[in-house]
């Protein structure tokens, strides 16, 4: 009996804390798909007029753009960043997992520290660095800067995946006359496909979600979806339904990517003791 009351109390507390958030999430969806709101919160009918940015240009202030331009920019930004993170972390992760060298532990701890220091604090200096190497206001340059923020933890992730592969695989390849680089390229990369997918998602997702780097380092007319939504929020007249719909579109691609790559993520190689 007592236990039951304890459990009811748990449910009640959780429900009370969750209620405002659930209201927010549900309200968000109602707002995105609702037309002609009743009392400002409940929709009278459902429709897709809030999604009109799909076929109309988006305007804020005196400027305008299309959602497709912003989507293209965001994709270019996030994919560049994801690829950079993947290449670098897969290389460094292998070395940190397999090759002994001095300063290895220091390097690994340093990565943890760097991950703890958010890049936002260094933004002023990054601004000038990019300015001097003439990459400021260019999508690839900013993507490179953004990618570097995810490298520290990405390296740890990649190292974890390499650590999971038995030494025998490598030894037999080396005996057969592979160089280190060939071992990495021919033997390991195919084996850590799930790791590649995970690290790529890591780099891609954070760049896709990024706001402050794009907002500060890209010129105002080159809009990513994040900065586009922010500039619509910052205008005088805010159409919340429209913004909710745009936010939904913004959140969709990472979800799709995750669903597509989930198979790769789950396809972890299975090792028998012999004959790999």
């Amino acid at each position: 009996m007592k236990e039951r009351w304890d459990r009811v109390l748990c449910y009640a507390l959780l429900a009370i804390i969750a209620a405002p958030f659930l209201t927010m999430y549900v309200g968000f969806f109602l707002r995105a798909f609702g037309e002609r709101m009743y009392l400002g919160i409940l929709p009278k009918e459902f429709g897709f007029s809030n999604f009109r940015f799909l076929w109309e240009p988006i305007a804020w202030g005196l400027e305008q753009t299309t959602v497709w331009a912003a989507l293209g920019n965001t994709l270019a930004f996030a994919i560049t960043s994801g690829l950079v993170v993947t290449c670098i972390c897969m290389l460094a992760g292998y070395a940190l997992s397999r090759i002994e060298f001095r300063g290895k532990n220091f390097f690994l701890v340093l990565q943890l520290f760097l991950h703890a220091v958010p890049g936002q604090v260094l933004l002023i200096a990054v601004f000038f660095l990019l300015f001097y190497v003439k990459l400021l206001h260019k999508v690839p340059g900013v993507a490179l800067a953004r990618a570097s923020l995810e490298i520290p933890l990405g390296i740890w992730m990649a190292k974890g995946f390499f650590d999971g592969i038995p030494w025998d695989v490598e030894r037999s390849a080396m005996v057969d006359g592979c160089t280190r680089f060939q071992v990495w390229y021919r033997i390991f990369l195919p084996l850590v496909k799930p790791g590649i997918a995970a690290v790529f998602i890591w780099g891609f997702l954070f760049a896709w979600h990024d706001f402050i780097y794009a907002y500060t380092l890209l010129p105002g007319r080159v809009k990513l979806l994040s900065t586009l939504i922010q500039s619509l929020v910052a205008t005088e007249v805010i159409d919340y339904g429209y913004l909710a719909a745009l936010s939904l579109l913004y959140m969709l691609p990472p979800l799709l990517l995750f669903v597509f790559l989930q198979r790769a993520l789950l396809r972890v190689p299975v090792f028998g003791g012999k004959g790999v």
Binding site: D6, R7, Y11, L14, I17, A18, F21, L22, T23, M24, Y25, G27, F28, R31, L39, G40, I41, I88, L91, A92, Y94, A95, F101, V109, F113, L114, A116, V117, P118, G119, Q120, V121, L122, L123, I124, A125, V126, F127, L129, A147, S148, L149, I151, I155, R180, F181, H209, F211, I212, T216, S226, Q230, V233, I238, Y240, L243, A244, S247, Y250, M251
Partner: protein, 302 residues
């Protein structure tokens, strides 16, 4: 000997080279550069001259004073003092509660509280700005209007509270996940034994679970202390530091000085103090936790 070293370097270079270069370029150089720019008068034209300690003198109120600074410092203290306990205690509470209910329900509630971290910052900022909008078009004011209550100007009357909640629940989503996976790894025997001995739910939580979670709690506290000191993006998105500097925290002030008022030198001096605070905090963390322990993490990591 030398040849062997060279061979080793040639072996390592293709693997470690690109990562080391990028990290050096975008982490190490910016740290030094921030400290250097802090001593210049770099402004809108990007011309600069070294001006010694003038920026810091202004910051500390020696000679020319910056009237905003005391306010910013108070804001930062209030913000961290509010958001940090909310994150750690709230995360712990939600983790314990959601591990006590049925499996499916626990998963549901954890998902609800993890959403803040899963959605992009801009969307989370938009959600809060919309929910607490001061007109009937905002979510909560819409509900209030529907119930016949007057409209409350949340973002003007309680800006700091809203900023603390919005950031605190972001922290909670990570802390809750870390704590609940740590709780899941506590052997059931321990809690069972305590229950058999007649401990109440509260006593089990207080004397069995919390002591076992010492390490995750310490990590999360240190982690979020730094995160709250450094982060300004969500505040920028929800209130923009306003109304009239009511939510302008230290890091946001640095950002605004540089990119809104184009006083890059001054902004860099604000940020460089933050960089120094970070370095000191990291040293404290290393002293407290030990280098070795940092390397062997896992088990309770998500």
């Amino acid at each position: 000997m030398f040849r062997e070293k060279l061979g080793r370097l040639a072996l390592l270079a293709p693997f470690m080279g690109p990562g080391t270069l990028l990290i050096a370029f975008f982490y190490c150089v910016p740290v030094v550069l921030t400290l250097l720019i802090a001593f210049t008068d770099m402004g809108r034209t990007l011309q600069w001259h070294f001006i010694g300690w003038a920026n810091f003198a202004k910051l500390f109120g020696v000679g020319a004073r910056d009237p905003i600074v005391p306010r910013v410092i108070t804001n930062t203290l209030v913000y961290v003092a509010g958001a940090l306990p909310l994150t750690v205690i709230g995360g712990l509470l939600l983790a314990i509660l959601s591990m006590r209910v049925h499996r499916g329900a626990g998963l549901f509630f954890r998902t609800v509280f993890f959403i803040p971290r899963a959605v992009p910052p801009v969307v989370w900022g938009f959600l809060w700005a919309w929910a607490f909008e001061g007109t009937p078009y905002g979510l909560f004011n819409g509900i209030r209007t529907a119930m016949g209550l007057p409209v409350v100007h949340w973002l003007i009357r309680y800006p700091m509270l809203i900023v603390i909640l919005a950031n605190g629940f972001l922290g909670i989503s990570l802390a809750m996940l870390v704590f609940s996976s740590a709780i899941a790894s506590i052997p059931r025997d321990l809690t069972r034994a305590a229950e058999v001995d007649g401990a109440s739910e509260w006593q089990v939580a207080r004397y069995v679970i919390v002591p076992m979670l010492k390490w995750p709690i310490l990590t999360m506290t240190a982690w979020h202390l730094m995160s709250f000191l450094n982060s300004y993006v969500y505040i920028m998105l929800i209130t923009g530091g306003g109304p009239y500097y009511a939510t302008e925290v230290w890091a946001l002030y640095g950002y605004h000085s540089a990119f809104s008022y184009y006083r890059y030198g001054y902004g860099a001096s604000v940020m460089s103090l933050l960089v120094i605070v970070n370095l000191v905090l990291l040293l404290v963390v290393v002293r407290a936790f030990g280098m070795r322990r940092m390397l062997i993490r896992g088990k309770i990591e998500v």
